[in-house]
């Protein structure tokens, strides 16, 4: 299958079940809300080394923020609700509460909950107070600037992590340009994030290593500089690969983000679109590239 002369490999992306949360971060200005969100979602590219994967979604015009101020949605993904709670406590406590004029609310209607504001409240040293309205409890924590408002609990749900596709390009410039175009379009998909820097990972990995005790290493079949030394997966003419990883609050969000991303990546200089999987033996979800392309009519 080809789109704009780019081969869509007959393969699939293998993704995993994770747990996700969605926070609404507001502030006096959008810039400060983004600052808080960037800090809270910072160093969250992979659960392997960062504890969670996180990213930012813009809010649609149909979703005003709980307090009417400018805001963004911050999404977080990890392996369990307990791990999510730990991550959110750290990230909201250190990254949102500290940020000028910020407030933090739950943005996910879910039966399962983790207590974040209900634990951060102790920072108020006994002078915190709560307000309960419409079933939502807010904590008001006195801080030097005035007050930090944070919701007692955040909803968490089963989510999907590790959707992915590879962009095999004729050059670094071509692969990167295609990846940038993909990410720019994918950012509009609500409920999906691309956790790596700028949404792109240049150092995709494989789950094996020659070293004892190390479980992950560079995805050597896709590394161009050693193509003559390994069983390469690179076709002739490919000299650089960029990968895009997608996490989503549900399968539909990941699927839609992949569909849009693959479509946008089929630019001049791109030879093939591929994806990473483990033979279907590890992950709960499979996203065949051919089905995504077919659904887009491409």
């Amino acid at each position: 299958m080809y789109i704009n002369g780019v081969e869509i490999e007959d393969t699939f992306a293998e993704a995993f079940e994770m747990w996700g949360a969605r926070l609404i971060i507001t502030a006096r200005t959008r810039e400060w809300a983004m600052t808080a969100a960037r800090v809270a979602t910072g160093l969250a590219t992979s659960i392997i080394g960062c504890g969670c994967e996180a990213g930012i979604n813009d809010l649609s015009g149909d979703e005003p923020t709980p307090d009417g101020r400018p805001g963004v949605a911050a999404l977080f993904f990890t392996t369990s609700p307990e791990a999510l709670e730990t991550q959110l406590l750290q990230r909201v406590g250190q990254g949102v509460m500290t940020s000028p004029t910020s407030a933090c609310y739950n943005g996910l209607d879910a039966a399962d909950r983790v207590k974040v504001g209900g634990k951060l409240r102790y920072f108020g040293d006994g002078f915190q107070s709560s307000k309960l309205l419409d079933g939502r409890r807010l904590w008001r924590v006195p801080v030097m600037e005035g007050e930090f408002v944070v919701e007692e609990e955040f909803g968490v749900c089963k989510a999907v992590g590790g959707g992915n596709f590879f962009i095999l390009g004729k050059s670094v410039e071509a692969a990167l340009a295609a990846a940038e175009a993909s990410v720019a379009a994918m950012r509009a998909v609500p409920g999906a994030i691309m956790p790596f820097p700028g949404g792109i990972v240049r150092s995709g990995s494989k789950v094996s290593s020659k070293y004892k005790g190390q479980h992950v290493s560079s995805n050597t079949p896709y590394c161009p500089t050693i193509r003559t030394q390994v069983a390469t997966a690179l076709p002739d003419g490919v000299e650089a690969v960029q990968e895009i990883v997608i996490d989503g609050l549900d399968e539909g969000a990941v699927r839609e983000a992949m569909r849009i991303g693959i479509s946008e990546a089929c630019l001049p200089g791109v030879v093939r679109i591929s994806a990473g999987n483990y033979g279907g033996t590890l992950g709960k979800y499979q996203f065949p590239l051919g089905e995504l392309v077919d659904s887009s009519g491409g």
Partner: protein
């Protein structure tokens, strides 16, 4: 605002209309006028429910014409100025009062909604635990209050008065929200334990006397406060914006220019626990 316990009856769409047969200044106790007591009953059964006319035990049918079948909504019309305890203990459904109504409306209610098209008497929502009361006119005294001898009053729910209220609104309130679009009388939030009272008109004299915790937010004029309240700072309370957004969603409030308000915070009553706050819009 939804009410989970109504869910089983919403699709029924049934409703009852009670129309007072004649005007009278004799007090009527009508705590039988409650969705929980009407549900599943026909007009004959509803008419047989008890009431008091002065000190005489009567039935609802003696005082009201009853039409319809008991479901999750009730409409009450006619001269209700001296009819007490409509919606007492209600937990689901809705009651609409077409005109003015007497005291103790919605006392001890825990769910559902009551809307009064006119004025209401004293003790609206006394000891309320949940649900919502909306009064489009003025109310008497002790709105959201606690009866004498009780240590705490309202523990949940929302009362919205689009007119003014008398004295001692929210006395010994423990939780919940009271919104007064008009003025309040004196001693608002006396001995308040917690909860919030928003006043958009003039806040009456001596607010917050004996306040332990909780919030009075004065968007309009405010009197000189008791000397047991101490000024803390000017600030922009974000939680109030959350409240105002909810009121806007409910269709109760729409003055968006107040969203960015700055308030002076006064903390007291230092005679007691002293963690209450009176926020006065700058």
């Amino acid at each position: 605002m939804g009410c989970v316990s109504c869910a089983a009856f919403v699709l029924d769409g049934a409703g009852v209309t009670l129309r007072r047969k004649e005007a009278s200044s004799i007090p009527v106790e009508a705590d039988s006028i409650c969705t929980d007591r009407f549900v599943g009953r026909g007009p004959t059964e509803i008419a047989a429910l008890p009431a008091f006319y002065g000190r005489r035990r009567v039935t609802l049918g003696d005082l009201f014409d009853v039409e319809g079948r008991g479901g999750d909504n009730i409409t009450v019309a006619g001269d209700l100025r001296h009819v007490k305890k409509i919606g007492h203990g209600m937990s689901m459904g809705s009651i609409t009062v077409d005109g003015d109504v007497g005291p103790h409306l919605g006392s001890y209610m825990s769910g559902g909604e009551i809307v009064v098209e006119g004025k209401a008497g004293d003790w609206v929502g006394a000891h309320m635990k949940g649900g919502r009361i909306i009064v489009k006119g003025d109310c008497g005294h002790f709105v959201g209050g606690a009866y004498s001898g009780e240590t705490k009053g309202v523990t949940g729910g929302t009362i919205v008065v689009q007119g003014s209220v008398g004295r001692e609104v929210g006395t010994r309130m423990r939780r919940g929200l009271i919104v007064v679009m008009g003025d309040t009388g004196e001693f608002a939030a006396a001995n308040m334990i917690a909860g919030s009272i928003l006043v958009f008109g003039r806040l009456g004299e001596r607010p917050g006397a004996g306040m332990k915790r909780g919030t009075i937010a004065a968007f309009g004029e405010a009197p000189e406060l008791l000397p047991t309240f101490r000024y803390a700072c000017r600030f922009e309370p974000v939680f109030l914006r959350f409240y105002l957004r909810r009121l806007s969603e409910w269709g109760i409030w729409a003055e968006t220019d107040l969203m960015d308000s700055c308030f002076r915070r006064h903390v007291g009553d230092v005679n007691g626990v002293g963690k209450g706050e009176i926020l006065i819009r700058d």
